[in-house]
């Protein structure tokens, strides 16, 4: 296997990241680096959007360009940044965390990464033929009209969806069949649990979106009539197909981040994670519930009134397993010996900001309120608190936490803390004012707006620019530390999960001898023999 051979000559080791490799660690890094490039791209689009919105009647970008920017900002951030960066973390970590040599299907694994590349390029290429401009939700019939880029967009999203489905098949198979000796289900790290739960969602939800996109693409390419209103086509049908995926997609994008957080809290508190089983089970619960709530995005679109209330209830119920996680994390750090290193800071930031996203989610689930704030900046604020304050903070926390494992080097703590501060302030500054704008009557996706929203928008833009700046110390830190950072050692955080029991970076085979697991992943302050009880069985005493 090529990566073995090359690993022998570390001098040229970096080259393997540029080509076809079946080593899950190489693929993981390829995912993360590629997706971060797209993150910067989506961020640039957001920058242009926020610049346009600095003044109510700005003409910096045309209405057409603006719609293309918002559409592709959303699509790039979701499909080309958050999904793949988390997939990359999963790729890198799952085999290490369960003591496997690699993923179950290494070639399929490489293929799913290499599908990401054409998918991404296709979405960008669409800008040359008139990019998609119907919003990332691509509501028909608007999206069936529209420029050719709309077709490329649909094909691109199909490719990206296929890529993440392949990845999920690999994850589930690997987790079920490749756990090393002693790695029982109830000894799996919570990040592995979260990837398992996420993969179930990806496999059940994504194909439905694929089907819907196929219908749109066919309407545009061969002239089928699925969404032709004169012929009897039903625009609501697309909304059902779309949201059946795109609501679970939110959990697909936040569960792995929660998994990473669940790894970080016990380590930096020197305490076992509180309520291990409940956290693991709540991930599964969120996945399954997440599949039953999609139509709460359609309260205003004229769905069968009888169906609205069940959807409202099922949506609100998701707050329960989410709450279980948050309270368990609080109980984990309570009474611990807390170290405030950068990963911990981002983890704490995750809770405090995701909390806002979660609470406002319940507001949106309440039908009477949703009928007012649906499709306003209130929704924009909510989803950014969930996906940026939540998922992206979680991704950052994970990158800071596992960077030493991937590179064998330490990141600079000072730069890390600067990054955290800028990111935390920027996020709240950018998105809190949007809640108010939405409540007061500002619709989303508008290129110009009522002057009475000017101050709120300028605050938001300020925050957005601060977020843009906050990426610089991170980039500098990651690049410079990789070259010349201090050596990290195998286990710089004194963590107990399996990936820390091999060298940093791990050898091509992950473990020189197949590890045998005798204790849970979070048995801090434990004499080893007690550690088998790393479950609520030992609860309360």
């Amino acid at each position: 296997m090529t990566s073995d051979a090359i690993a022998a000559k570390p001098a040229r080791a970096w080259r393997r990241y540029l080509g076809w490799s079946t080593d899950h660690k190489v693929i993981g890094v390829q995912y993360m680096v590629t997706s971060f490039f797209f993150f910067l791209l989506g961020g640039a689009m957001a920058g242009m959007i926020r610049a346009q919105l600095l003044t109510p009647d700005s003409t910096l970008v045309s209405a057409e360009a603006y719609n293309r920017l918002t559409t592709n900002h959303g699509s790039v951030m979701l499909f080309l940044w958050i999904l793949p960066v988390l997939a990359g973390l999963g790729n890198y970590l799952i085999p290490l965390q369960i003591g496997a040599r690699d993923m179950a299907f290494p070639r399929l694994n490489a293929l799913s990464f290499w599908l990401l590349v054409p998918g991404g390029l296709l979405m960008l290429a669409s800008f040359f033929v008139g990019a998609a401009e119907a919003g990332w939700t691509a509501y028909v019939p608007l999206s069936v009209a529209g420029p050719d880029g709309q077709t490329l967009w649909a094909i691109s999203v199909v490719l990206l969806g296929t890529s993440s489905m392949m990845g999920s098949i690999n994850f589930v198979t690997t987790i079920l069949t490749m756990r090393t000796a002693g790695m029982t289900f109830w000894r799996m790290p919570l990040f592995t649990w979260s990837i398992l739960a996420t993969s179930i969602l990806v496999l059940t939800a994504t194909p439905v979106l694929t089907a819907g996109l196929v219908l749109i693409a066919m309407d545009r390419l061969v002239g089928t009539l699925f969404f032709s209103v004169p012929a009897g086509g039903d625009p609501i049908l697309w909304q059902n197909l779309f949201w059946f995926y795109s609501h679970p997609a939110v959990y697909i994008m936040v569960l792995p981040a929660m998994g990473a957080i669940s790894e970080i809290f016990p380590v930096f508190s020197g305490k076992p994670v509180f309520g291990y089983k409940m956290i693991a089970i709540s991930s599964l619960a969120i996945s399954l519930l997440g599949l039953t709530v999609w139509a709460h995005h359609m309260f205003t679109s004229g769905m069968d009134p009888r169906l609205r209330v069940p959807y409202m209830i099922s949506t609100m119920i998701i707050a329960v397993p989410t709450g279980v996680k948050i309270f368990s994390w609080l109980a984990t750090i309570w009474g611990g010996k807390i170290r405030l290193d950068t990963p911990m800071l981002f983890a704490l930031g995750f809770i405090s900001m995701f909390l806002i996203g979660g609470i406002t989610g319940v507001f949106l689930a309440a039908i009477p309120i949703d009928l007012h704030v649906h499709d306003t900046y209130f929704v924009v604020a909510h989803l950014h608190f969930v996906l940026f304050g939540g998922s992206v903070s979680g991704a950052y926390a994970a990158l800071y936490y596992w960077y030493p494992k991937v590179t064998g080097r330490r990141l600079d703590e000072r730069l890390g803390k600067i990054h955290f501060a800028a990111n935390f302030i920027g996020t709240n500054l950018a998105y809190l004012p949007m809640f108010l704008a939405g409540l007061l009557g500002m619709p989303r996706r508008v290129v110009n707006y009522d002057p009475r929203f000017t101050q709120l928008n300028q605050l938001a833009s300020l925050g957005a620019f601060l977020l843009a700046a906050s990426v610089l110390p991170f980039l500098y830190n990651v690049i410079v530390s990789w070259v010349s950072g201090p050596k990290a050692g195998d286990n710089p955080w004194r963590a107990k999960a399996l990936e820390w029991k091999t060298s940093s970076p791990p050898p091509a085979h992950n473990f020189d001898t197949p590890p045998v697991v005798t204790e849970g992943p979070y048995d801090y302050g434990e004499p080893v023999q007690v550690s088998l009880a790393a479950t609520p069985a030992a609860a309360g005493d």
């Binding site: 079946t22 040599r101 490749m178 039903d234 059902n240």
Partner: protein, 197 residues
């Protein structure tokens, strides 16, 4: 499957403890996603069947398609008989049955092409009406799956003729079988909701 320093034996121990084979598991997970994909298309078809009157459906030739259904079911039987054969170490039997599978699959496709052509003659096309769009899309995607299955069967047959598979090692055949039977099940459902109901 992978070039590992360790053998499959201990690498997939956890799977064997759950009596799971990673290749079969992978295929089942893929099939699960396929269920959802066809589910989306079927949901669409049913939705329009319920909302838009489709007089065209009277043009459908249930007898012809019924025979085609029979052909596909028979091809499924060929696959299992082939598997039974190789499990008894009978590679010639496997080869014969795989050949028959591919043949019957091809016959099914032929029947579908004939059906499509005659419908087009009646002016029922992809773009003639919502019914036409959803009918040809749904059956077309199934046909595509059959086509892939036929190619896969032929490739497997080639491997068999080059001496692959034995009474001990035939997971490859079984995995192909899972795919083929799934395509068969999809057709059983489509036959009901499109032609019978």
């Amino acid at each position: 499957m992978t070039s590992h320093s360790r053998t499959h034996e201990d690498e997939f121990r956890a799977g064997r403890e759950l009596s799971l084979d990673h290749r079969k598991l992978g295929m089942w997970l893929f099939l699960a996603s396929e269920v959802m994909f066809f589910g989306g298309l079927i949901g669409t078809f049913l939705h329009y069947k319920a909302t838009i009157p489709s007089p065209e459906s009277a043009e459908l030739d249930t007898i012809l398609v019924g025979i085609n259904t029979f052909v596909l079911i028979t091809s499924s039987l060929m696959v299992v008989l082939g598997l039974d054969a190789i499990q008894r170490g009978n590679r010639r039997g496997l080869a014969t049955f795989l050949g028959l599978t591919a043949l019957l699959g091809a016959v099914f496709l032929g029947g579908q092409v004939y059906e499509f052509v005659s419908l087009y003659r009646h002016g029922i096309t992809l773009t003639s009406s919502v019914f036409g769009s959803s009918f040809f899309t749904l059956t077309g995607f199934h046909g595509l799956h059959v086509l892939i299955g036929v190619v896969w069967a032929a490739l497997t047959l080639g491997k068999v003729l080059r001496g692959a598979y034995s009474a001990q090692d035939h997971v490859g055949v079984e995995v192909f079988g899972l795919y083929w039977h799934f395509v068969d099940i999809v057709w059983i459902v489509l036959f009901t909701i499109i032609y019978l109901i």
